[in-house]
């Protein structure tokens, strides 16, 4: 009797403990309306996870047909604008109802991946350039936008990172992206900084000058992807891309070597800022939104961020300036980050036509100007209506400056394998807390990269 009782208890406990596994199990088992769609990934197949690409599903073409369009956008920085775009779109197309979900920053791939596995991607979604979107495209889950109006009118230079290995244009960049340092003009005046630093040594000197006036020099969010967007991307551009023209090719080929002094220096620079007390207190656990708030509250003189925040940062009451992150060594040409902003994609499926209308509306129609005016960023389309654009003159001048540089580097998510991406923030944190030396961090990144290549 006792053993039966024990067995029952064990069985019950096991049933309850299945909960954590349940959340991770993704198998839609097929059987959807579009389940007969062939997938031509062309790999040796020993099993099937049940994702059935609805590539040939019939599209809605009738203008009067009532359609509910599911839209997900990573729009925390432009939440009001996103809602306005949705409202205006529905006013323009009364037969299309938009079911809009906002995705928190830095979680787009996590949001979309289970939906992709369950064959239930939103009809329209935001997406980053790089491997994740390319896989969705090559699996036939999202549409090739090469021949769409939005695709044709996008600046050609922004297309490569939104193009999969099979040549599909899986997304339209949301703008030209670059990282920059916003600075508080008032605090710079207080510290007596007259000239902006042009290289790493001058930058350290400026930080020291601020610190000597009891002003916290720099804010960087060290607990999320911001640190990758800023410290990593600029370090990689200056230390690697600027010195090795084949670096990106090697990275894609699986032959890149992270375990080098040049790469370790990316971590070392951040550690130097931390050890010298130039970073705001709490940087290791600081997240993007908190970092932005702290800069806007005047808690530090500089915020290392990106052009995607221009609309918010430039409106600060204390007067905001922008400068190129001087991550270059003395005597070395600066290599800025020039990349793409989070873009827009359309899912294959029966609402593809309606989703394409939404894409046109947000990339070329009235929706674009709502989006751009809120963000104050640089257009991705070839001929925008200049009269409707809203770009701060300082940002325009900054972008003009960018054009004078011979070389530029990418953002991290455009080039790194997902395994390396997933470990990057933790690696920076381990360097800051002293758990890893910069050299140890470089070796760890190399090991992770090799595992990814092997897989």
């Amino acid at each position: 009797m006792v053993s039966v009782k024990k067995a029952c208890s064990a069985a019950l406990a096991l049933s309850l403990l299945a909960v954590p596994l349940y959340g991770c199990g993704n198998d839609n088992g097929g059987g959807t309306a579009a389940s007969n769609t062939k997938n031509d990934a062309g790999k040796g197949t020993s099993g099937n996870a049940g994702t059935n690409a609805p590539a040939n599903a019939p599209a809605d073409t009738s203008a009067d047909e009532k359609v509910t369009l599911t839209v997900s956008m990573m729009s925390s920085d432009w939440v009001d604008a996103a809602q306005e775009i949705v409202d205006q779109f529905m006013a323009k197309y009364p037969n299309i109802k938009v079911d809009f979900s906002q995705v928190p920053n830095d979680t787009n791939a996590e949001y979309l991946q289970p939906k992709a596995a369950a064959n239930s991607l939103p009809d329209f979604m935001t997406i980053d350039g790089g491997t994740f979107g390319a896989q969705l495209a090559d699996t036939g889950l999202i549409a090739d936008l090469k021949d769409s109006e939005a695709g044709k009118n996008t600046i050609d230079g922004l297309k490569p990172v939104f193009t999969s290995s099979s040549g599909k244009l899986f997304g339209i960049a949301g703008g030209l992206s670059t990282t920059l340092i916003y600075y508080n003009k008032k605090l710079f005046d207080q510290a007596g900084i007259k000239e902006l630093p042009k290289n790493w040594d001058e930058f350290l000197a400026a930080c020291e000058q601020l610190k000597s006036r009891d002003i916290t020099p720099l804010i960087v969010a060290g607990a999320d992807g911001t640190v990758n967007n800023t410290v990593w991307s600029n370090g990689f551009s200056n230390n690697i891309v600027g010195k090795d023209p084949d670096a990106l090719k090697k990275l894609a080929d699986g032959t890149f070597d992270f375990n080098t002094p040049a790469y370790a220096d990316i971590y070392a620079k951040f550690k130097t800022l931390y050890d010298k007390g130039y970073l705001i207190k709490g940087v290791t656990s600081l997240q993007y939104s908190q970092a932005n708030d702290e800069f806007l509250q005047g808690k530090a003189a500089m915020s290392f961020s990106g052009i995607w925040l221009a609309g918010t940062m430039m409106a600060a009451g204390f007067g905001t300036g922008v400068m190129l992150p001087p991550w270059n060594d003395k005597g070395q040409d600066l290599v800025p980050v020039v990349a793409t902003e989070t873009g827009f994609a359309v899912a294959e499926g029966k609402h593809k036509d309606a989703a394409m209308k939404f894409l046109d509306f947000i990339v070329e129609g009235d929706g674009y100007y709502i989006y751009q005016n809120k963000r104050g960023n640089i257009p991705m389309i070839k001929s925008p209506d200049a009269g409707k654009l809203k770009i701060d003159p300082a940002i325009s001048s900054y972008v003009d400056d960018l054009k004078t540089y011979a070389k530029s580097g990418p953002l991290w998510f455009e080039v790194l394998p997902s395994e390396v991406q997933a470990s990057l923030v933790q690696t920076f944190q381990r360097v800051l807390t002293g758990e890893l030396t910069p050299e140890g961090a470089a070796k760890f990144t190399q090991d992770t990269y090799l595992q990814a290549v092997k897989k």
């Binding site: 406990a13 993704n26 990934a41 969705l136 607990a223 709490g282 933790q426 595992q451």
Partner: protein, 298 residues
């Protein structure tokens, strides 16, 4: 047939009551768990319809990963600190509230209140509390002239686990308190009356009467809190994301990172299987230990 039904009527009725629940468990718990077990032997990336079976590679990969030792340490730390501290606090609070009686309802509401929030909300609240620049802890220390005492509680390896544990205890103490109060209400009052006539002190009463008579509630709470802490995800994820580095990473967070950030569903499932085995082993061990203790008291 009729004869068979008449002979087995109670069994059929019992099965009819149990089957819907079993069906739900089977479809929504057991089947996904079994599929997770299957995927733990594949290299599925979570998107592609194609995958290969890779044997024990995922298990080897997860066990040899640099964070695995840290995950085990974090798990042991949480069990060693959280389970006893939480149970001691909630039991003592339950005894005090039960003894005081006056305003008992109000105390229960106040202590239980955090439990009605989502763990995500609690994570955000504590993230603000711990913020070393504008958080209330930093502000109080600043007012007291102890500005240098303000730490990056969530950003240092030495402080992150205790800081995280405190927020988890704050969140969950109300739930366990209710179970202890339920246990206390089943103790016949005449036992306490007899004891007070004998002249025993409050501590003696606690030690020799209340604790032994609460043994069922203690068993339930220890087992439930151990399972809860082993599989916890939401609050630590919002509060620290598992950082700095892997310093506060729980197994559930690690599973999430493998699955949805690193696109390694196979490795995620392998770690989920390991987590299930670890949790089962610890749960069965605790049950055995506590059942022996209960039997000794009886």
């Amino acid at each position: 047939m009729r004869v068979w039904y008449r002979n087995n009527r109670s069994a059929v009725a019992g099965a009819a009551f149990v089957l819907p629940a079993l069906a739900v468990i089977g479809v929504f718990f057991l089947y996904p768990a079994l599929m997770s077990f299957r995927y733990s032997f594949t290299n599925w990336n979570g998107i592609s319809p194609d995958f290969d079976y890779v044997g024990w590679d995922n298990f080897r990969y997860v066990l040899q990963s640099p964070q695995f030792k840290q995950l085990i340490w974090n798990t042991l730390f949480l069990i060693g600190l959280y389970v006893p501290v939480l149970n001691i606090i909630s039991m003592l609070l339950a005894v005090l509230i039960y003894d005081v009686r006056r305003f008992a309802g109000m105390y229960k509401v106040i202590i239980y209140l955090p439990n009605i929030f989502s763990m995500v909300v609690v994570g955000i609240i504590w993230k603000v509390i711990y913020n070393p620049v504008f958080g209330p802890v930093a502000l109080v220390l600043e007012k007291l002239g102890k500005e240098s005492w303000a730490q990056d509680w969530l950003g240092q390896t030495a402080t992150v686990m205790p800081a995280m544990s405190l927020s988890i205890v704050w969140y969950s103490v109300g739930f366990y308190l209710m179970i202890y109060l339920g246990g206390l209400s089943t103790i016949p009052p005449d036992i306490y009356e007899s004891a007070s006539i004998e002249g025993i002190t409050w501590f003696q009463r606690l030690r020799y009467l209340t604790f032994p008579l609460l043994s069922h509630a203690i068993t339930i709470n220890i087992v439930v809190s151990a399972i809860g802490i082993l599989t916890i995800f939401d609050l630590p994820f919002v509060l620290t994301g598992g950082g700095p580095g892997f310093a506060s990473q729980t197994m559930a967070i690690s599973i999430y990172i493998y699955a949805f950030k690193s696109m390694q569903q196979g490795s995620a499932m392998a770690l989920a299987v390991i987590l299930t085995l670890v949790t089962t082993a610890i749960t069965l061990g605790l049950l055995r230990l506590l059942n022996r203790r209960e039997a000794a008291h009886e």
